[in-house]
């Protein structure tokens, strides 16, 4: 028992409570605006909604106070704000669809997923008292990740939606196992790299002042590369492929501190991606739609129609947006999921979109801060990997919508409609909270 050391370390829990109040205010106000503009404002509904938000915010806050008092105080408010705006936006899109005779309940379903996601995060904090335990499951995680990644290819349960075969059907529900595989891979990479970093970092020929890996150490990198390429070609999903490979290369770099790994990896991916585009027409079509989106012929063929409609939507929003409930986000296919960023851009404007991107930056930076603060190598790799995963995923989705990179089928974490993404990313937040607690906790004298 540590009884003597009276070290005052600010947990930041009180600051978190203040930020959470702001979060609840934003979430409730957004929902109120949406309901108001849809002529659907019911005071009792709003009170229930407000109550639910207060309860959820308090629940996670109290859970942190109880089980991880030193956890990062900014993460939860940032994530909840994005989540709250996403919920309002999805509900607003429900209304837009309803106005056109299409009955959807994305908003309500998403609210349930949010509750489940937050519960999972709390569960992670409650059950995983020390993140280092995860290291024991390094190879189990690797296998789970691989299974999750390849599951959609299995006939029978794998299904293709919107062109990408990254879904499986479980009990009538569509799930994206790739979202969970992402976490498993980060655990696996962290465990594997922390054990093998010395070999990977120190052996190998030097070229132009950079130490390049020995061919026999290239095994794991090559394996992940092959997996990424398979995903791109057979699951028709550049997003997951890029995400997976990007996470691996980034973690490899953190582990080895060798820029050469990054260069080798990027070169391999580029060559693979270009080759896939040249040899597989469906991959090539995605590239064409990206590079020549506004070209009349490409547009007419339908390849870039969704992308261009998203651009039109964002353009109509301009600097300040049309206002929640005032635009026509329903004119973009998958406005509630893949293209929710375009919906945000349209109704909340560039201002709103930049604000949300900034919140993501905050989340990623808190994860990186945790990685720097923690001593243990596994923890560093884990939190840097998870943080980078969120950042890269946002980049891939938003980059796809804004034509920075080709369009892919990933979902925007916490914002877009989708259960798998919601659950998986809240688990990521749970892990980050747990690691950050251990990073910021004053050294226990009994250790």
């Amino acid at each position: 028992m540590a009884t003597v050391a009276e070290v005052t370390v600010r947990t930041g829990r009180r600051a978190e409570l203040g930020l959470l109040a702001l979060t609840v205010l934003i979430a409730v106000a957004a929902r109120g605006l949406v309901d108001y503009h849809a002529d659907y404002l019911v005071i009792s509904d709003m009170l229930v909604y407000t109550g639910a938000w207060v309860a959820v915010a308090l629940a996670i806050h109290l859970a942190l106070r109880r089980w991880a008092p030193f956890a990062d105080p900014v993460l939860v408010p940032a994530v909840l704000t994005i989540n709250g705006i996403g919920l309002a936006m999805i509900r607003r899109i429900d209304f837009a669809y309803a106005a056109r005779g299409r009955e959807t309940d994305f908003g309500q379903v998403q609210a349930v997923w949010t509750l489940l996601g937050i519960s999972l995060a709390i569960l992670v904090i409650l059950l995983l008292r020390d993140y280092k335990l995860l290291r024991r499951f390094t190879y189990t995680a690797g296998v789970l990740g691989l299974v999750g990644l390849l599951l959609p290819l299995l006939p029978g349960i794998g299904t293709q939606i919107n062109g990408a075969r990254i879904w499986i059907n479980v009990f009538g529900k569509s799930l994206q196992p790739g979202e969970f595989a992402k976490i498993a891979f980060v655990v696996f990479f962290a465990g594997y790299l922390v054990s093998n970093r010395d070999t990977l970092a120190l052996a190998g020929p030097k070229v132009l002042g950079m130490r390049f890996p020995r061919p026999r150490d290239l095994g794991p990198l090559a394996l992940v590369w092959v997996a990424a390429m398979l995903v791109q070609i057979y699951e028709r999903d550049l997003g997951t492929s890029l995400l997976l490979f990007g996470i691996f290369v980034a973690m490899l770099y953190v582990a080895t501190e060798q820029l050469s790994w990054v260069l080798t990896g990027m070169a391999m991916f580029t060559v693979g991606a270009v080759a896939a585009g040249a040899f597989f027409s469906h991959v090539g079509a995605r590239y064409t739609a990206w590079l020549h989106a506004l070209d009349p012929e490409v547009y007419r063929s339908g390849q870039s129609e969704q992308l261009v409609r998203g651009l039109f939507g964002m353009a109509s929003g301009g600097l300040f947006g049309t206002g929640l409930g005032e635009g026509r986000p329903d004119l973009v296919p998958y406005a509630e999921s893949d293209f929710i960023v375009a919906s945000i851009g349209e109704e909340l404007g560039l201002t709103g979109l930049l604000a949300i991107l900034t919140l993501y930056i905050v989340i990623v930076q808190r994860a990186m801060r945790t990685a720097i603060g923690i001593r243990h190598g596994f923890g560093k790799l884990l939190s840097a990997g998870l943080g980078f995963a969120i950042g890269l995923q946002v980049f891939i989705v938003v980059g796809g919508v804004t034509r920075v990179i080709p369009l892919t089928g990933l979902t925007t974490p916490f914002l877009a409609y989708g259960g798998s993404s919601m659950l998986a990313n809240w688990i990521v937040i749970g892990l980050l909270l747990r690691i950050s607690h251990q990073a910021r906790r004053p050294e226990e004298s009994s250790a």
Binding site: L311, F312, G318, L331, Q365, M368, G391, F395, T402
Partner: protein
């Protein structure tokens, strides 16, 4: 391992910076181009997707926006489309707008300056923008009578309330159904439009105000007669009326309709000349008066004026500095004299209203979505082409035309009808235009009407205004009298 983590953070920041630049580019720099892109339906939807006010006749909506489950939200719906299309025009997502739909667009769509306070109220209350309703001066009964009487004959009918200038009826034939162009399926609308364009006689042309202007023929003799009365003539003034009028400076002569003789004495009164529509008498009268007198009279009736009622009206034309022979021809509404049917209705209305011509108008009242009056058109004197005495004298002469002259087909039992026929040569092998202009009752007119059948309107047999146009005018006048009696 901290250094690479920091670098990775910078990499993530850079990636987000790229996203922010891309978003800024799309939403600010390229936004103008994207919004103007022809494939961008949003701009269309924004314009066409708002609730558009109705167009109202006799207190009933003849055009309105019905809610539909498509991206445009509302379908412009036309009750009796062909009946009113000459006035309403169409509202198409492909071909834009015409008619009242165009001229009153800002009010109908709710963007007009007049609706500023309404919009401000909406902003506070959070209501969405709703367009104003436009109430027309048209009388449904008169419009229907004109439409039925014209049938499928090619031509136009305009009826005015002489004391106010309200347009009671405006019909053009052939016509179209605006509903064919108001659909939301581009391919169908395109097809319908091409069909209309390919239809002979141009159903999209509004012959009443904006088609080709027509030579008014003998109906123009009303203007010449008015000029004569203004110059001191009276109904009993004797005019030189030979069988053949020599036209100075040319080898041709002017004859009468069918080569007939007006008078055995080569002389007749102004009233008789008008009654039987004697060409030579009016030709000689015109030369005697001089073109400038007739020109001034015609301009007082509205020739040369660019009217907006608020539909744009093609100005009626007069010859430029005619010589004696051309003056003679112009005095009987030939040569370079051109008029719209509305212009001829205005001549009748000016005479009917004791020499005071009221400015014609189609829009009675505009109300915002809360039924507050936004705009009301007040009747306005446009000009005073005649004195009261002259107008009454000319009216009596016109009654003679219908009683015992060329316009007997316009007679209505128990009602004194004043009128003038016209059969205007077109200078080619085509049939002449058949005209009738008139008003009733002669002592207290409630309606002034002009009818034209272009090149006989597709009729066979002898084409004259008296035979073909007068009966149409009669039916319109009857409808107006019935509507008047009913109200």
């Amino acid at each position: 391992m901290n250094e690479p983590v920091r670098r990775i953070s910078v990499v993530v920041l850079t990636m987000f910076l790229a996203l922010m630049i891309a978003a800024s580019y799309i939403q600010v720099i390229a936004a103008g181009d994207l919004n103007a892109d022809a494939r961008n339906v949003r701009t269309l939807y924004r314009e066409y997707g708002t609730f558009r006010g109705p167009i109202v006749v006799d207190g009933q909506s003849i055009v309105w926006s019905a809610p539909v489950d498509d991206p445009f939200n509302y379908q412009r719906t036309y009750a009796d489309g062909p009946l009113y299309s000459a006035v309403t025009g169409y509202y198409s997502i492909v071909y834009g707008r015409t008619g009242i739909e165009q001229s009153e667009n800002e009010l109908l769509s709710g963007t007009a300056d007049e609706l500023f306070w309404t919009r401000l109220g909406n902003l506070v209350s959070g209501e969405t923008q709703r367009g104003a309703s436009v109430e027309l001066t048209l009388s449904g009964a008169v419009q229907q009578a004109a439409f039925d009487a014209l049938g499928d004959q090619i031509g136009a009918v305009v009826a005015l309330d002489p004391s106010t200038g309200k347009v009671l009826a405006m019909v053009t034939s052939p016509t179209f159904d605006p509903a064919d162009l108001a659909g939301h399926t581009t391919s169908v609308v395109n097809e319908n439009y091409q069909t209309l364009l390919g239809t002979p006689d141009g159903p999209l042309v509004n012959r009443a105000i904006a088609g080709d202007t027509y030579p008014p023929g003998s109906t123009f003799k009303l203007v010449t007669a008015a000029a004569a009365l203004g110059a001191g003539y009276d109904a009993e003034s004797e005019l030189y009326a030979p069988d053949e009028l020599a036209l100075p400076g040319t080898s041709v002569t002017m004859g009468n309709y069918g080569g007939a003789s007006c008078s055995s004495t080569e002389s007749m009164t102004l009233a008789d000349a008008l009654r039987i529509s004697c060409n030579t008498a009016f030709g000689s009268l015109g030369m005697k008066l001089g073109w400038s007198v007739i020109e001034r009279q015609a301009e007082a009736f509205g020739w040369g004026e660019q009217l907006s009622i608020p539909l744009a009206v093609t100005p009626s034309r007069l010859p430029d500095d005619p010589d004696q022979a051309q003056t003679a021809m112009s005095s009987i509404g030939q040569y370079d004299v051109r008029a719209t049917p509305l212009q001829m209705a205005m001549v009748a209305a000016g005479i009917a209203n004791d020499g005071e011509l009221m400015r014609p108008y189609l829009v009675e009242t505009v109300r915002d979505a809360d039924l507050r009056v936004v705009e009301t058109t007040e009747p306005e004197v446009m000009s005073t082409p005649m004195t009261v005495a002259d107008a009454n004298e000319l009216t009596a002469m016109m009654v003679g035309v219908v009683d015992a002259g060329s316009g007997t087909n316009a007679q209505i039992s128990g009602v004194e009808v004043a009128g003038k026929t016209g059969t205007a040569e077109t200078g080619n092998d085509l049939d002449p235009h058949a005209w009738f202009v008139g008003f009733a009752p002669a002592d207290d007119p409630v309606v002034a009407v002009a009818v034209v059948l272009e090149n006989g309107g597709g009729n066979t047999g002898t084409i004259t205004g008296g035979r073909l146009a007068a009966p149409i005018a009669r039916q319109v006048i009857e409808a107006a009298l019935a509507a008047q009696g009913g109200s």
